[in-house]
């Protein structure tokens, strides 16, 4: 019996890049095949070929032994291939339900929509999938994580034979990853299969049956998950072995305070957020999706309005109304959403890397020093291993992980004292992650102060000198390196002061009856 | 205070809706109307659409004017039929209508104070033919291909030439929207493709000045330019010889006649069917005559 999906001798080139070269791959019936490889290895390209977005230069695809030729996304879906792309493909102005069922809306007379039927159907789907989404919510107002869930819901709403997921968990935290894995297990049947792309090695063990490794557009090997260690996988991927479990470095508690945030509140979410960041420290921010970590960062740098609170830099109160104020004070913020808030997609790599520092580093009397900017960008490409034919490549042609590296590079170029990194390793391969961790440690070693927001708890635990945990817009605790264990963090992250009086009491919120979310709380968050 | 709205005040109120308001010609009509209004103790408003193709806009203005229940209405129609229902409404409200500048195709207006544009254009053609010795190529830069004043000034000119100057070759008419720059560019193109052009006619102020500019910029000597209307630039062009002469209407007089007629109509006096406000040929030789000076506007 032929395998569910067979890919043979597939090649695809772009100007200056051979993204895939004689690639092959087999997905068996009823299995989850993990596809791994470094950033730019060609994973997404392969999936785009499968779903008919690109046409291959050479090669064959077979579904159940039958030649498979997809003419476009719709055709792919009709053939039973459903895909969650690495970059979201959502309509921000439409609701969750409208997004999920776009093109398949319940209609009367083929033309008139039934909103109620649509929402009902979507609600059923979301309930079945146990996804915490309101079918009527506008997708544009959702966080990245929830948008990812919409993509998942959409993909699973099709009657797919082959489900392709391109880094579906990049924006999710452990609990949500768990949910997704549950969904996948239920999806798998003797007639279906899943291709699962991820850079989170820990989850491959949990979800995949076999792992195919690719490198530089070529097939490397396929391993049985059962009988393989992640170490092996990683060394096949990056061509070397990586240091095992590392610990936070240079943890000291005698560091002077650099940034002091007190009583920070915003209209929608934050309540009285207070914490300090010390010189040369890496301060981790943990919490569940929507806990408000991103909002804290945005409020500090002036990207969102604060309703209360002060920010002190080396003891002096500072007024920050706009990210440019923050930049002037040498506070940088790397956004979690690279496509929306990070990159100039139409511009080249060198401009993207140089953007933060054009004014101070790359210009002389108003004239841009493009040569210098290019040089520095080239250094960054080298240092971060950004896979691109040249710094003149347009950012949107880079693979997802390499785009993320460009965003990081942009903030390394600017000499900031305080760096707030929001999900900095999102979409970055294991090898490169290590390099970025080294880099963060290096920066901290130079005396820079770093806030690291991350939904990957292991990453926070191995990097952070101290960990701030948030829940429902409040700080529920600040843990030292020693206290910061998985259990402690999760406990603090799952407190529900708004509806659970006990939790409120534990956080010392006075008069917390659960009914008054905006009661000003005086001493949440021990320092 | 209610003086802004309607004829309930003491002094009679005349609402004037013209074909335009931004151009010099209309400003001169307005000026005449205001002078006369001052004399007769009536209150007027003067409005017109931004361009002379905005028929609908003008109709809106007319209906807004009617909403103010004026004692009389002065009206220069862009398209006389388009306003017919409103004119009937005026009649039913007993508001006399005085047409000006362009006749209204209807018996509702009590009188019409206007220039005979066809005759005026024929006069321009006559002078043009004379000046070029009744032969050679003549080009026309006309301000509009659809409005009555545009077509009359084109047709009056063409018809006179065809009947009286068989040796004059008329080039295809070009339209410059009465815009000086556009008319100047057109003029230069005409000269470029017809280096032997003997004369060029501009059918209103903007067109005429555009022709003058175009001829000047082309550096070409010896082209006879005949214009229409007045204004500082045309007067200068005539004085320095670039323009041979022009037809002028009597816009100030037109405004005065309009208000005079309105007052008479309000008072129930009889009025003639038409009031010819006249036109004049002016050139270097007569430009300083008192009679001409009186009708020129700067």
């Amino acid at each position: 019996m032929p395998d569910l999906l067979e890919i043979e001798g597939v090649s695809k080139g772009f100007p200056g890049v051979q993204a895939l070269d004689d690639m092959h791959l087999r997905v068996r019936h009823g299995e989850v095949l993990a596809l791994v490889g470094e950033n730019g290895a060609g994973k997404s390209t392969l999936m785009k070929l499968l779903s008919g977005i690109y046409t291959p230069d050479a090669g064959d695809f077979r579904l159940d032994g039958e030649p498979l030729r997809v003419s476009g996304p719709r055709d792919a879906m009709e053939t039973g291939i459903s895909i969650i792309h690495q970059e979201f493909n959502l309509m921000p102005h439409l609701t969750v339900a409208e997004n999920v069922y776009i093109g398949r809306e319940p209609r009367t007379g083929g033309f008139v929509l039934s909103e109620r039927a649509l929402n009902r159907r979507a609600a059923e789907l979301l309930e079945r999938l146990e996804l915490p989404l309101d079918p009527r919510a506008l997708v544009g107002n959702l966080t990245v994580a929830k948008q990812q869930m919409v993509e998942i819901a959409k993909a699973l709403s099709y009657d797919a034979r082959v489900l392709i997921m391109d880094e579906p968990t990049a924006a999710l935290n452990d609990a949500e990853v768990e949910t997704l894995h549950g969904l996948i297990r239920r999806f798998i049947s003797p007639t279906t299969g899943v291709i699962y792309i991820s850079h989170r090695m820990d989850e491959l063990k949990a979800i995949s049956d076999r792992i195919t490794v690719i490198r530089d557009g070529r097939y490397v090997e396929t391993l049985d998950t059962e009988t393989t260690t992640m170490k092996e996988v990683i060394s096949l991927m990056v061509g070397r072995t990586l240091a095992a479990e590392a610990e936070p470095q240079n943890v000291r508690d005698d560091r002077p305070v650099v940034l002091e945030v007190e009583g920070l509140s915003t209209r929608d979410l934050l309540h009285d957020v207070s914490f300090e960041l010390r010189e040369g420290e890496i301060l981790g921010f943990a919490g569940l999706m929507g806990a408000g970590r991103t909002e804290v960062a945005r409020a500090i740098v002036g990207a969102d309005a604060k309703t209360a609170g002060t920010v002190r830099l080396r003891g002096k109160p500072v007024r920050i109304h706009h990210p440019s104020d923050a930049a002037r004070l040498r506070i940088g913020y790397l956004s979690e959403d690279r496509k929306r808030f990070g990159l100039l997609l139409d511009q080249d790599v060198s401009v993207n890397v140089g953007l933060t520092s054009i004014g101070e580093r790359f210009s002389r009397s108003g004239f841009v020093r493009f040569g210098r900017m290019r040089e520095v960008a080239e250094q960054m490409v080298e240092r971060l291993g950004i896979k691109t034919p040249s710094v003149a490549q347009t950012a949107k042609n880079l693979s997802g992980g390499n785009q993320q590296k460009v965003v990081i590079a942009k903030w390394l170029v600017k000499d900031c004292d305080v760096l707030i990194f929001d999900e900095p390793t999102r979409g970055i391969d294991v090898g490169a992650k290590e390099e970025i961790y080294d880099l963060l440690n290096e920066l901290a070693g130079e005396g820079k102060s770093i806030v690291m927001i991350s939904s990957e708890l292991p990453e926070v635990l191995r990097m952070a000198h101290r960990v701030v945990v948030m829940t429902e817009g409040r700080i529920s605790g600040v843990l030292t390196h020693d206290e910061a264990t998985q259990e402690n963090v999760m406990h603090l992250a799952t407190l529900r002061p708004d509806e659970n009086p006990d939790d409120a009491a534990e956080l010392g919120l006075v008069g917390a009856t659960g009914a008054a979310p905006d009661v000003p709380d005086t001493k949440a968050g021990d320092r | 205070d209610d003086s802004a709205s309607g004829g309930s005040g003491d002094e009679p109120y005349v609402a004037i809706v013209s074909k335009g308001f931004q151009h010099q010609f209309w400003q001169a009509v307005k000026q005449g109307a205001e002078q006369q209004a001052e004399k007769e103790g009536v209150r007027i408003t003067f409005e017109g659409p931004a361009t002379e193709t905005d028929v609908e806009d003008q109709v809106n203005m007319l209906s807004n004017a009617l909403a103010k229940s004026p004692d009389a209405i002065g009206f220069a129609a862009l398209d006389s039929k388009a306003a017919e229902p409103l004119l009937q409404q005026a009649q039913s409200q007993d508001i006399p209508v005085i047409a000006f500048d362009s006749g209204v195709d209807s018996d509702i207006p009590v009188t019409t104070a206007a220039t005979d544009n066809k005759a005026a254009a024929a006069e321009a053609a006559k002078h043009m033919a004379e000046l070029i010795g009744n032969q050679g190529k003549v080009a026309m830069v006309v301000h509009d291909q659809t409005s009555k004043s545009g077509t009359d000034r084109r047709d009056g000119f063409v018809e006179w030439m065809e009947q009286n100057a068989p040796d004059v070759e008329l080039l295809p008419v070009q339209y410059g929207d009465g815009d000086q720059t556009k008319s100047a560019d057109i003029t230069k193109s005409i000269i470029q493709s017809n280096p032997d052009v003997a004369g060029i006619y501009g059918s209103n102020e903007g067109s005429a000045i555009g022709v003058v500019k175009g001829v000047e910029e082309s550096g070409k000597q010896g082209i006879t330019v005949v214009g229409f209307d007045s204004g500082q630039a045309q007067i200068d062009a005539i004085n320095n010889g670039v323009m041979a002469g022009a037809i002028t209407q009597n816009p100030v007089g037109m405004g005065e006649e309009l208000v005079k007629a309105a007052v008479k109509a309000i008072d129930g006096e009889d009025l003639p069917d038409t009031i010819d406000t006249g036109f004049y040929w002016y050139d270097k030789s007569n430009i300083d005559d008192a009679e001409i000076q009186a009708v020129l506007y700067q």
């Binding site: 476009g72 996304p73 719709r74 792309h85 493909n89 959502l90 309509m91 102005h93 439409l94 609701t95 409208e98 776009i102 033309f111 008139v112 929509l113 909103e115 915490p132 309101d134 009527r136 919510a137 506008l138 107002n141 959409k154 609990a175 949500e176 929608d268 569940l288 999706m289 929507g290 429902e472 799952t494 529900r496 708004d498 | 209610d2 802004a4 709205s5 309607g6 308001f21 408003t45 003067f46 017109g48 361009t51 193709t53 905005d54 028929v55 609908e56 109709v59 809106n60 203005m61 209906s63 807004n64 909403a67 103010k68 229940s69 398209d79 039929k81 388009a82 509009d144 291909q145 659809t146």
Partner: protein, 332 residues
């Protein structure tokens, strides 16, 4: 899953009214500016708030309003249509040709004119969707072509409907039996139709979807090209309708008119809260936008404000109205 509860508690804050309802509220708020302006003029001049004058205002909104309705769809897709003004003139001329020259019965002539407008829209849609020409250029070219053709076909002279008094009644008759012009009735009807189409049908859904994220819409298996052509053609019907309305009102097809109407119609759409970036907009907003412009124009004329000041004031009031709208949006 623990996050579920966490989020559900916050849901009411954001999703409480439901995004659709927020949009509705938004419209009502844009409506507020209109009310304020209206109230102001009512106080400032006694001739303003009379049955007759209100009818005048509505009547004077018909043509721009009709154009704006159709173009709302195009703008929500992220496109633009500059050809509606001169396209309207061309349609008016075609209506004249059909009815006065070919002697087609009025109803049929009107239908043919609408379809002719649809054809203009179709060509625009084809140029945009199939040839890949940016909407601005494609419709600018059509604007020029339509302007020229209107003159060519009419012989540069108005076409009069003198022998078809029924035609004029399309605009000025009172089908309702009392003094309420048919034109206004038609505008309101067209508004209703558009609102239903935009909110309740597949056409509307894809209009929003394409404007929101064209690529994602295509990747979701929707034939974006086909739908764009449909949307532009649909908008074209309103160019045709506007051509009928203006020529019926004037009793004549004016071939040289129309230029500039596109800007006014687009302005009405944008003042009504539709974003030129696409994905967002409402029909009621468009009607309100069109009314804001005509109320101001009418009010200033009724108050006999000197004409050179009228535009200055119109500009400032639009600025203030839209600013107030922005403020309200930010506050919520």
């Amino acid at each position: 899953m623990s996050t579920t509860t966490a989020d559900d508690t916050r849901a009411p804050q954001a999703g409480g009214l439901g995004s659709r309802w927020k949009d509705r509220l938004q419209e009502l708020l844009a409506f507020a500016s209109l009310i304020v302006i209206f109230a102001f003029f009512s106080i400032a001049s006694s001739s303003f708030f009379t049955y007759n004058n209100v009818t005048n205002i509505l009547f004077s909104t018909v043509v721009i309003g009709t154009l704006a309705l159709g173009t709302t769809f195009v703008i929500i897709t992220g496109g633009i249509d500059l050809s509606i003004g001169t396209g309207m003139a061309l349609c008016a001329v075609m209506s004249g040709v059909f009815i006065t020259q070919w002697d087609v019965p009025i109803a049929l002539g009107v239908l043919m004119t609408l379809l002719f407008g649809g054809l203009i829209g179709f060509v625009n849609g084809f140029n945009v969707a199939v040839l890949g020409i940016p909407p601005f250029i494609a419709t600018l070219a059509m604007m020029l072509v339509a302007q020229g053709l209107a003159l060519v076909i009419s012989g540069s002279a108005p076409i009069y409907f003198t022998d078809d008094p029924g035609y004029v009644r399309i605009s000025t008759g009172n089908l309702l039996g009392f003094d309420f012009p048919n034109a206004v009735l038609i505008l309101l009807l067209a508004t209703l139709v558009c609102a239903v189409l935009l909110n309740k049908t597949v056409l509307g859904r894809y209009t929003y979807s394409i404007g929101s994220n064209e690529e994602a819409t295509a990747l979701s298996g929707i034939n974006v090209g086909k739908w764009k052509i449909i949307i532009y053609s649909f908008a074209g019907l309103f160019t045709g309708l506007a051509g009928v309305m203006i020529s019926a009102r004037l009793g004549s097809a004016q071939p040289a008119t129309g230029m500039g109407y596109e800007l006014q119609a687009i302005a009405a759409v944008v003042i009504g809260g539709t974003s030129l970036a696409g994905g967002k907009g409402t029909i009621v907003g468009t009607l309100v936008g069109a009314l804001i412009i005509s109320v101001i124009n009418n009010g200033l004329q009724i108050m006999s404000i000197a004409q050179e000041w009228q535009n200055v004031i119109l500009g400032l009031v639009i600025l203030v109205a839209v600013y107030a709208d922005q403020l309200r949006k930010r506050e919520r």
